[in-house]
């Protein structure tokens, strides 16, 4: 079975709690809060002002910058506030608040319905950008940017990421099972946008049902299986006739869903140190992103909702929910019966890379894959001990770093050595800190060091 080197097998995946639970739609929230910066890249400017009536799907914020994705109204209602509010990343950013009010909810008005076969790559990119789509696996990088490789980079393959290697989360698993056709449709659109003639869907082998479902859909697909381009088309464009689609079952190992690890496992290629997936002719997109692309093309629907796994021993009813962007965490948690008394830690994302947040009064953003609530007995504050040089971090690091030495150099502020030992290549997956018997907060040190090196470079040049 193909995989990457090193990595870890977390003790207890906790996926069973929600893996069988079909995605349910959360009732429309009465109020949504939309931070103007939801993703990596540049912040947006509001296109509406306080008092404006907006309808569901209306673009309400955008930026002229390339690395940005617009924001749309997830519900119909009235803009009641535009001010700095807390966002899940830990600081206050300007946000638009929409209240549904007493008025009957207006019908959604989506503009445009297309078919991927009729669209040119340029048009697909434009639709994706206008729909405000970002990577839904958690990094939230604007998708249209990834779909616009520089002309000198030939993209041979796209990989659809269905690994979902973080413990607890099952949102992508459910998407692959319930939205199989749209995953494939979106994949085709993404491949077309970048001119790739090979599509690989990588799924960890702990999701056999998803693998079977995808294979079934490709074999028997509904009448318009996206992988059998119409005859006329196949004569026209050579690339389409050759579009190869494969499902690859990958070893269940964390962080299999990391972009670099996934490319290594599926194609055997290593993204060069300091480089991007583009450098090895690949574009990687998450399964949820593929569905969002399919919806944008087929329905003209912008990214206004996403699937969120609500789980952990601190919630009464773990489940998968389809929620509107901007819904408060509180509303989502209460829909699952609320918190248990011993809830102690709220994490946006998974237990390995997720962000611990301080309050339930925060909105779901495009990057919210999961709300994980850990109970008191699972939350321990570890006191760092001296490194005993056991080497477990080195055996766990998928990048081939020596986290123990890096931490030493960072503590000594020996920045030349920190750079020489490749801290910039760290993907912050947390494997090293997970296995460290001395409970050293390795990832914390690396985050600090990366920022420090960036600032130092900025000052020097």
């Amino acid at each position: 079975m193909s995989t990457f080197k090193r990595g870890i097998h977390p003790f207890g995946y906790h996926k069973a709690e929600t893996a069988e639970k079909a995605v349910r739609e959360l009732p429309l929230p009465k109020r949504v809060v939309l931070p103007l910066q939801q993703n990596l890249g540049c912040p947006n400017e509001a296109l509406v002002k306080v008092g404006d009536e907006v309808h569901e799907g209306q673009k309400i914020a955008d930026s002229a910058k390339f690395v940005a994705a617009p924001i749309h109204a997830p519900i119909s209602g009235r803009v009641t506030k535009i001010e700095k509010l807390p966002n899940p990343c830990g600081f206050d950013v300007p946000a638009i608040v929409i209240d549904a009010g007493e008025n009957a909810p207006q019908e959604a008005r989506y503009d445009g319905k297309w078919s991927v076969d009729e669209l040119a790559p340029e048009q697909i990119r434009k639709i994706v950008r206008e729909a405000g789509i970002v990577g839904l696996g958690g990094a939230a990088f604007p998708t249209h940017v990834k779909l616009s490789p520089p002309p000198e980079k030939k993209i041979g393959a796209i990989i659809i990421n269905g690994c979902e290697c973080e413990p607890y989360i099952t949102a992508d698993h459910r998407i692959m099972l319930e939205r199989t056709e749209d995953v494939l449709y979106g994949a085709k659109a993404i491949a077309k946008a970048v001119g790739a003639d090979r599509i690989i869907i990588g799924v960890e082998d702990n999701k056999q049902d998803a693998i079977e479902k995808l294979k079934y859909e490709i074999r028997n697909g509904s009448t318009s299986s996206p992988y059998q381009p119409s005859r006329e088309k196949s004569r026209d464009t050579k690339s389409e006739t050759n579009t190869k689609l494969e499902i690859q079952s990958l070893k269940t190992k964390y962080p299999q869903g990391g972009e670099k690890m996934l490319i290594k496992a599926t194609l055997g290629r290593e993204v060069p140190s300091g480089g991007l997936a583009l450098d090895v002719g690949v574009v990687v997109q998450n399964v949820g992103t593929a569905v969002a692309v399919a919806e944008a093309i087929k329905l003209g629907k912008p990214l206004i909702d996403r699937v969120v796994t609500v789980t952990g021993s601190g919630v009464k009813e773990p489940q998968n929910l389809l929620v509107r962007i901007g819904t408060s965490f509180l509303e989502i948690i209460e829909h699952g019966g609320g918190l248990k008394d011993d809830a102690a830690k709220l994490i946006m994302g998974g237990p390995m890379m997720g962000l611990a947040v301080s309050s339930l009064d925060l909105p779901v953003v495009k990057a919210t894959t999961c709300l994980l609530v850990l109970s008191k007995k699972e939350v321990r504050e570890y006191e760092e001990q001296s490194c005993i040089r056991c080497g477990r971090c080195i055996k766990a690091c998928p990048i081939g770093l020596t986290p123990n030495f890096l931490a030493d150099f960072i503590k000594l502020k020996d920045w030349a050595r920190v750079e020489e030992y490749h801290v910039a290549d760290c993907i912050e997956c947390g494997c090293c800190a997970y296995v460290c018997p001395s409970r050293i907060y390795l990832v914390q040190y690396f985050k600090i060091a990366k920022r420090e090196l960036q600032t130092r470079k900025a000052v020097c040049r």
Binding site: F405, D425, P437
Partner: protein, 302 residues
Amino acid sequence: MSFNISVSPHIRLPFDAKSIMWVVVLALLFPAAAGVYFFGLPALVLIVFTTLVAVITEAVCQWLAKRPITAADGSAVVTGLLLALILPPTFPLWMAAIGAVFAIGIVKVLFGGLGFNIFNPALAARAFLLASWPVAMTTWIRPFDAVTTATPLFLVNKMHQAAPGYWDLFIGNRAGSLGETSVLAILIGALVLLLTRVIDWPAPAAFIGSVALFSWLLGHDPWFAIMSGGLMIGAFFMATDYVTAPVTTKGRFIFGLGCGIMTVLIRYFGGFPEGVNYSILFMNILTPLIDRYARPKLFGGR
């Protein structure tokens, strides 16, 4: 409601440094038990006494330095136990006490405590005792009847006498340090460490393999070479010491190989009958250098 805030990852493997130390202690109990079986009550007294002195020394040193007292973390127990296992079974207790104080006080604590010492404390203390009391350190007894005799390595390599049978060497029915004689007991302990992944194979495999290979090339019996002296206990319990051996798989292999070559050189060309002790101490010096160059290949690196 206020939630706990801390950096990711939010879960940790439930296996900490303390657990590791106690697994090592458990593994060491097998050779210790074999020593008591073959050499009787004095061996038991020596083991308990040396271990106690080591733990107390660490506690006192930390108290004097006004540092948190971590003597119960198991690492001093490991050092004390290891030291007792590489001493002659009838070694005087007061000398053993000085050895334990030297191991913990000088070799470990003075260099910064757990994680910072350059030399393996037990081995450095053994070298110190050998230099201070060479006669007491080379007074060996036969198992069961406690008659004074020489070690097989001395008899074979220096006196050119016949080696004991393989079975006696394997179960430990021969003269030697308290815990080094029973290959069987050491292998059981090593198995515990390997199965719990407390140690990995590169250092012991390279160490034992290279001693066997070079002994054979030099015309010696490789089976005798690996089952005599302190090779087994050294390879599995000393060359795998986290703190004083390299951290990477590659580095650990190089370390084991270096230990093997040094052992062969000392045994067949040096003045001492046994070279495991000095070979490991010698390679301890090279550990930082090996660590510097034996790093894993960077993902996407050239």
